[in-house]
């Protein structure tokens, strides 16, 4: 099955409105197979609505999309056979145990009873959940729930997996685990569409990123291109002795040819740099001088900075408006 020429997702002009609120306002996406494609945007930008249309849960009001070559409306059933979805809410049954959830899904996907049990056991082990397997999911921690959720999505390995903010609310350790799982999935040949609010996360995982705002794609490219469009990152420096700040400021300003911001912490300062090379040169010069550096870091531009650069406005935190009870027609 080498159909790598077929894009994983090919969407043009997708529109979805809920009442007067246009959640998705003409989204175009071209997602190649075999990598993580990041969709980056603040809450309410239309990420979840876009995913729900692509996963055949919502019919678009306008526009069209093909998933692995199948139309999401007229061939919805074929699409469902190729994708799986891990939603923002845990897409598992909280009253059931971890094992029961996986057996349930395996049965629904066509496994025989004994096969379903074996598959559930295999997945529980693979995701480090054997000890919690007999516990109801409502007593799981956030990280465990998320792992179970992803395990439920790969009972049958999907060709395309939708992950909607998989690490929101997780502690750093659980987040790293989820990242490892995503990398392993892609290593196995699954394409992942990853929605996230964190530039850092998209940067870590995604080969390409689309930035979405107010229901539209406002930028698309590799993480490097995206950051380059922001222009610069920020070098933070802390000194051991605040007395030396004046000299450090002079050295940095000369080396980087930029204005140094003195921070409220009397031992700290920051300066915009074009890239890692010039930053390390400046640090080397600083360390070679009489100034004692306590620490330094090169900050990634934040989502806010990306948004500010791309849109001229900061990322607004609009509540995603998907009211319950909205009637629309998804063909069976």
């Amino acid at each position: 099955m080498t159909q790598t020429s077929t894009p994983a997702i090919e969407a043009s002009g997708l529109v979805k409105a809920f009442g007067d609120t246009v959640a998705v306002d003409g989204v175009d996406l071209l997602v190649p197979q075999g990598a993580v494609f990041g969709v980056l945007g603040p809450n309410g930008a239309g990420k979840t609505t876009t995913i729900r249309m692509l996963a055949t849960l919502l019919a678009p009001d306008a526009g069209s999309a093909r998933v692995l070559g199948h139309d999401i409306v007229s061939e919805a059933d074929a699409v469902r056979g190729l994708v799986s979805l891990t939603g923002q809410l845990a897409s598992v049954d909280e009253d059931l145990t971890g094992r029961e959830n996986l057996i349930l899904l395996a049965r629904l996907l066509g496994y025989r009873r004994d096969q379903a049990k074996a598959r559930a056991a295999e997945l529980l082990e693979a995701f480090g959940l054997e000890n919690a397997a007999g516990r109801q999911v409502k007593h799981f921690s956030g990280g465990m729930r998320r792992r179970l959720d992803i395990a439920a999505s790969i009972v049958v390995t999907p060709r395309l997996m939708f992950l909607d903010e998989p690490t929101t609310g997780l502690d750093p350790r659980s987040r790293n685990q989820v990242w490892d799982i995503i990398r392993a999935l892609v290593g196995q040949g699954t394409t992942v569409l990853l929605c996230t609010q964190y530039l850092d996360e998209a940067d870590q995982l995604a080969e390409r990123i689309a930035v979405i705002d107010h229901g539209k794609v406002i930028a698309e490219g590799t993480p490097g291109q995206l950051k380059a469009s922001v222009g610069q990152s920020t070098l933070h420096v802390r000194l051991l002795d605040p007395e030396q700040r004046g000299e450090a400021e002079r050295l940095l300003a000369r080396s980087l040819d930029a204005t140094v911001n003195l921070e409220s912490d009397p031992a700290a300062m920051s300066v915009a740099v074009a890239g890692a090379d010039s930053a390390s040169d400046a640090i080397a010069e600083l360390v070679g001088s009489s100034v004692t550096v306590a620490g330094f870091s090169l900050g990634q531009p934040s989502l806010d900075e990306v948004f500010l650069a791309l849109t001229g406005h900061p990322a607004e935190d609009v509540a995603e408006s998907e009211p319950h009870g909205t009637i629309e027609g998804v063909p069976a």
């Binding site: 729900r52 598992v92 059931l96 029961e100 629904l108 996907l109 693979a126 995701f127 439920a152 502690d171």
Partner: protein, 282 residues
């Protein structure tokens, strides 16, 4: 009930070889048929009874109290003796028990809709009404459990069925058939209401007048004419008449046919409506 350890002290499990093996093993088996899929969803319903037995206890406790209270408190006044009244009341109590349980089909569906698990089901390549049909089929087991509890209590209190155990089993089966039809009404309510509590309240509010204004508690001929007319039309009265008949061994084919017709009618109207609302709810 132990709260899961969110323990930061616990080392994260190493997701290594086993993960890759598991990912590589995810071959897609042949797609299951609609019946198998519905039965799987029915199994999910069973698991819910196992994990959340409170629901079953709630709905069974009310009729148990009703049976005890009406028999011993009003029995003497209404029928001359508690024993005679029990003979009259018990079939109706069985009906009441199962019909209240049917409200939970709507409550369970409403609860589901607020959870992400519905998104999972809807994104699976399965026969689309399967989650609904399976849930309602699974609920039939709930009805049987509730019916068994009330029947055991009735027998302990001294209820005697002239038609014997077969008559009682036939009566229970008929009530379950009726409840299957009625549960589609509550699934529609479940999809229209915002919260599980609202579904329960609406369901009970709708059922209470229908249950009291039926022939469960008193002979309709003791009522004023206009009320007697309503009671005679009430489908629940027809169900109770058929159930009494089956337990006494005097049921006619016509009495039973009416119950099947009502159940089929409710299913024909409200099952497709449920499926439609389920598909379109976002």
């Amino acid at each position: 009930m132990s709260v899961a350890p969110t323990a930061p002290a616990q080392a994260p499990p190493a997701l290594g070889e086993a993960l890759h093996t598991a990912l590589a093993a995810g071959e897609r088996p042949p797609r299951p048929g609609p019946i198998s899929t519905c039965l799987t969803f029915g199994w999910r319903g069973m698991l819910k009874i196992k994990h959340v037995p409170e629901q079953l206890i709630d709905v069974t406790l009310t009729p148990v109290l009703f049976l005890l209270m009406f028999t011993y408190l009003f029995g003497g006044a209404v029928a001359g003796s508690t024993g005679d009244y029990l003979q009259f009341l018990f079939p109706g109590m069985l009906v009441q028990t199962v019909l209240f349980t049917a409200v939970y089909s709507g409550v369970a569906l409403n609860t589901d809709m607020t959870k992400g698990v519905v998104d999972r089901f809807r994104s699976l390549p399965i026969w689309r009404p399967a989650p609904l049909v399976g849930a309602v089929v699974g609920d039939s087991v709930r009805y049987l459990l509730a019916a068994t509890v009330v029947t055991l209590l009735g027998v302990i209190m001294g209820f005697e069925a002239q038609a014997g155990i077969l008559g009682v089993l036939a009566a229970i089966a008929l009530v379950v058939v009726f409840a299957f039809g009625l549960s589609w009404v509550f699934t529609v309510v479940g999809l229209l209401m915002r919260a599980p509590n609202a579904v329960m309240n609406t369901g009970f509010m709708a059922l209470f007048p229908l249950i009291f204004l039926s022939n469960i508690f008193v002979e309709p001929r003791t009522l004023p004419g206009w009320l007697e007319t309503f009671v005679d039309i009430n489908p629940i009265s027809h169900l109770v008449t058929a159930v009494r008949g089956l337990m006494a061994g005097t049921a006619t084919a016509g009495e039973i046919a009416i119950v099947f017709a009502v159940a089929a009618g409710l299913t024909a109207v409200f099952a497709p409506l449920t499926a439609r609302l389920y598909r379109s709810r976002t």
